[in-house]
């Protein structure tokens, strides 16, 4: 839509949430699991690495055509499923008029390898196969032709468009944890400025992938030797990849009111930066600067962070958190694992859910950094400091 003369920034509401994680599918299942302090980890399948495996769902309920499901691998299925849940939650599923102009910013990595093909190639190479066209021949004959579509980063958005009919503008952002911070930031800015009325934002991650475990093994990031909560990993840093899909519908207050939509919370602001992490304390300073830009109100609140357990970034975040001790902290990396691009929308979802429930979910931390919060939170800061680069923050507030 064409925006007009600069007008006051429009208020933006979170009106739909879709969650499918290692703790279950849907808002109730995840909320109950958090309140029960449940954690679902698998320390066997990918030993010595640890993952938070996806809790099985019936994909048919959101992706009715088997043909569509077959075109995707797990990552796209999880995302398309969670996106459907968000559209249901917002009450726009099947509303062609709205969906036809709904904007979408999806954060995505990429899709699964065909590991059987990869391993066969590597074994053959190890046996001394060195024909010039050997790799070509194996790939041409081994890969199923539509696998590429299941791997392409922008095809998560593409599948959401095809399956659910979301067909306004569609953008896909890449870049690990920061990608979904920026997806939320840009979607919010567009609606606030009148460049958009309603948007679907979010991501999905399949952490049960050997190729991704290998990528993070290169950097020494995988948590090993037993699962412990994020804040207790200082002597054995690392993260456990998790599988999750987290999507939100956000829209202008006027648009929501006009269609009688009930909001969960207000998405007040999203800020982001990329600090050069060349000096100690760079992340701490970056987070503090973002806090000052965010518009946090005096008084207390809650803080939901995607802190990964990787070092030195997690210690730097702790130093920042100590400056804001009147905010009760919750680390989603403990309950859901490290879901990279999905971590920030997961945090936004839990912030909105907590505000709508009038309660922050309980702490899950033996170190005492996370404390109980007895009052209903009216402001929740969602924090995302990437394991390697990028820092972001959002302010989610109760609507008075």
């Amino acid at each position: 839509m064409t925006e007009t003369m600069a007008s006051p920034a429009r208020e933006v509401w979170i009106t739909g949430i879709g969650l499918a994680t290692s703790l279950g599918e849907g808002l109730n299942a995840n909320w109950e699991a958090l309140n029960a302090r449940r954690i679902n980890v698998d320390e066997k399948t990918f030993a010595p690495c640890i993952v938070h495996p996806f809790a099985p769902v019936n994909f048919d309920t959101q992706i009715p055509k088997k043909g569509d499901q077959r075109q995707m691998e797990a990552w796209q299925r999880i995302g398309t499923y969670a996106a459907g849940l968000a559209l249901d939650s917002a009450g726009v599923k099947g509303n062609k008029e709205i969906l036809g102009r709904m904007d979408m910013i999806v954060a995505a990595a990429g899709g699964e390898r065909d590991l059987a093909v990869d391993i066969a190639i590597l074994n053959a190479a190890a046996k001394g196969n060195s024909d010039p066209g050997f790799l070509n021949e194996r790939l041409m004959n081994g890969l199923r032709p539509t696998l590429f579509l299941a791997q392409l980063s922008n095809l998560l958005a593409g599948n959401i468009a095809i399956v659910h009919g979301v067909s306004g503008t569609s953008r896909t952002f890449m870049g690990e944890e920061a990608a979904s911070v920026d997806a939320a930031r840009i979607a919010l800015a567009r609606i606030a400025a009148g460049q958009s009325d309603i948007a679907l934002i979010g991501s999905a991650y399949n952490g049960e992938r050997l190729d991704l475990l290998m990528l993070y093994e290169f950097g020494g990031f995988n948590l090993k030797d037993g699962f412990v909560p994020v804040w207790a990993r200082q002597n054995n840093p690392g993260f456990a990849l998790g599988s999750a899909g987290a999507f939100l519908v956000i829209e202008s207050k006027a648009h929501a009111q006009a269609r009688g939509a009930k909001p969960y919370a207000r998405l007040t602001n999203v800020v982001a930066d990329l600090a050069q992490r060349t000096q100690p304390g760079a992340v701490t300073r970056s987070l503090e600067a973002l806090w000052n830009k965010l518009g946090v109100h005096d008084g207390n609140g809650a803080l939901i962070t995607g802190a990964t357990g990787a070092e030195p970034v997690t210690s730097e975040e702790k130093a920042f958190l100590r400056q804001h001790a009147n905010f009760a902290v919750r680390a989603t990396g403990t309950m859901f694992g490290q879901t990279l691009e999905a971590q920030f929308p997961l945090g936004l979802a839990l912030a909105a859910l907590s505000i709508s429930h009038g309660a922050l979910f309980p702490p899950n931390d033996p170190t005492g950094l996370e404390v109980e919060m007895s009052k209903p939170p009216t402001q929740i800061v969602v924090v995302g400091a990437g394991h390697w680069q990028g820092e972001g923050m959002a302010l989610v507030e109760a609507i008075d």
């Binding site: 190479a125 066209g133 579509l149 392409l152 390697w388």
Partner: protein, 425 residues
């Protein structure tokens, strides 16, 4: 002097710097000379063995090397180069201090075969599985592969090198990515978030697996015997696109800020539009409505009518599907004029630069406006009678051009268009 706001009251967005690399060469001068001479950058691939491949040609950038070689590394290197060219021309900011955000359209990043094969050799056995690979991947020996193969690695390096502000965005909308990067920059300036934006698009991903992937979808031309003649948009005997590499960078500024610092204005991004096609993962909706809608949205965004467009820089991939759908879309919006308005495809010469295409072709569109010369669609020997475009066949043409529409229609239903003018409307 024109007013700094457009007819909708938004800051006018202008271009003050451009940089481009394709298989034709590095820089605007070389590219423009060869483009208007009707030269092709497509060659038989020499970068890796082509035995057994159905498509053995591409428009690779072979005159830039990176050590150690990875296509991600090459993608980053040409992005650096085009950004330097654009910044040099623009004169904005100072070295390492660009006063605005970075929007980077980039080929999706993944661990590549050379390091994968290297890890495989490190296992030290001839029969092994992935858990063995995982076992030898640790210990820090391959730490450089973690940082190289993160999706955010290219943008991170660009942001560090050029000192862009805030969080850099890496994006993909498949073949529309380059246009999307420009749109994000335009939107940010229109919102008043910044007076400037650095929009870069880069794709140097020709390797065995990417070529095989497109090949398995039957998307590529197999007319390998004459590589330079294979990309033949709008021709009757077209049979698929030719994969290529390239990068484009544009410095966008608000008209007001550009004039205030005395910058030379190279052109105006008068309008942007995008519309999703939810029909199929690779094919367009047969009724053409998303393409038609995208083109109309773009005209509306610019506050222009079809009559005001003097030239269309087509998506024109040379696939049977796209070129047909592009004609349907354009002829629906432009009516009878669709047969007269020049419509040419740069891809006939530089191939399909995938994630970079929208930006590379926007730059060629701006050069068209600067030089008042339309690059041809080459290899147009057998016209497709069902696509009666004036494709500017085979030879460049001097023409009066005031407004250009540049189209990008990508896999996954991503449609994006830009309207570029020399002067504010």
């Amino acid at each position: 002097m024109a007013a700094p706001r457009d007819k909708f009251g938004r800051p006018i967005v202008v271009v003050t710097g451009m940089g481009v690399i394709t298989s034709l060469g590095a820089g605007k001068t070389d590219n423009w000379a060869k483009l208007t001479a009707g030269e092709s950058g497509i060659r038989t691939v020499t970068r890796f063995p082509i035995d057994g491949l159905k498509t053995t040609m591409a428009g690779t950038v072979d005159f830039v090397t990176v050590e150690p070689f990875s296509t991600v590394g090459l993608t980053e290197q040409i992005a650096l180069m085009v950004t330097e060219e654009a910044l040099e021309q623009s004169g904005i900011g100072s070295k390492g201090d660009f006063p605005g955000p970075l929007f980077l359209a980039v080929a999706p990043v993944e661990t590549e075969w050379p390091p994968r094969l290297e890890i495989g050799r490190a296992v030290g056995k001839t029969e092994f599985d992935f858990s063995d690979l995982l076992r030898v991947s640790g210990g820090g020996k391959y730490a450089q592969y973690h940082r190289r193969f993160l999706f955010g690695s290219v943008a991170g390096h660009l942001a560090e090198t050029f000192g862009t502000k805030g969080s850099p965005i890496s994006l993909s909308t498949a073949c529309a990515s380059g246009a999307t990067a420009i749109q994000l920059g335009v939107e940010a300036i229109r919102r008043g978030e910044s007076d400037a934006a650095l929009c870069v698009a880069t794709d140097s991903s020709v390797n065995a697996e990417t070529l095989v992937r497109f090949s398995l979808l039957s998307a590529l031309s197999t007319q390998n015997d004459q590589p330079q003649g294979a990309s033949k948009p709008f021709s009757k005997n077209r049979d698929g696109f030719v994969m290529a590499e390239g990068a484009g960078a544009l410095v966008l500024e608000s008209y007001e800020a550009a004039v205030a610092r005395g910058a030379t204005i190279l052109g105006v991004i008068a309008g942007c539009g995008e519309l999703t096609d939810s029909f199929h993962r690779t094919r367009s909706s047969p009724d053409g409505k998303p393409i038609i809608g995208c083109v109309r949205k773009t005209l509306a965004d610019a506050g222009m009518t079809p009559d005001q467009i003097d030239y269309i820089n087509a998506h024109g991939t040379s696939t049977p599907e796209n070129d047909k759908m592009e004609y349907l879309g354009i002829s629906t919006v432009f009516g009878e004029r669709a047969k007269q308005i020049p419509v040419s495809s740069n891809k006939s010469m530089v191939g399909h630069t995938i994630s970079a295409a929208g930006a590379v072709e926007a730059i060629f569109s701006l050069l068209t406006l600067e030089h008042q010369r339309i690059p041809p669609t080459i290899n147009y020997d057998i016209p497709d009678p069902t696509i009666p475009f004036d494709v500017v066949p085979n030879k460049a043409r001097d023409a009066r051009v005031t407004a250009v529409m540049s189209n990008s229609f990508g896999f996954g239903g991503q449609n994006a268009s830009l309207i570029l003018t020399r002067e504010p409307i």
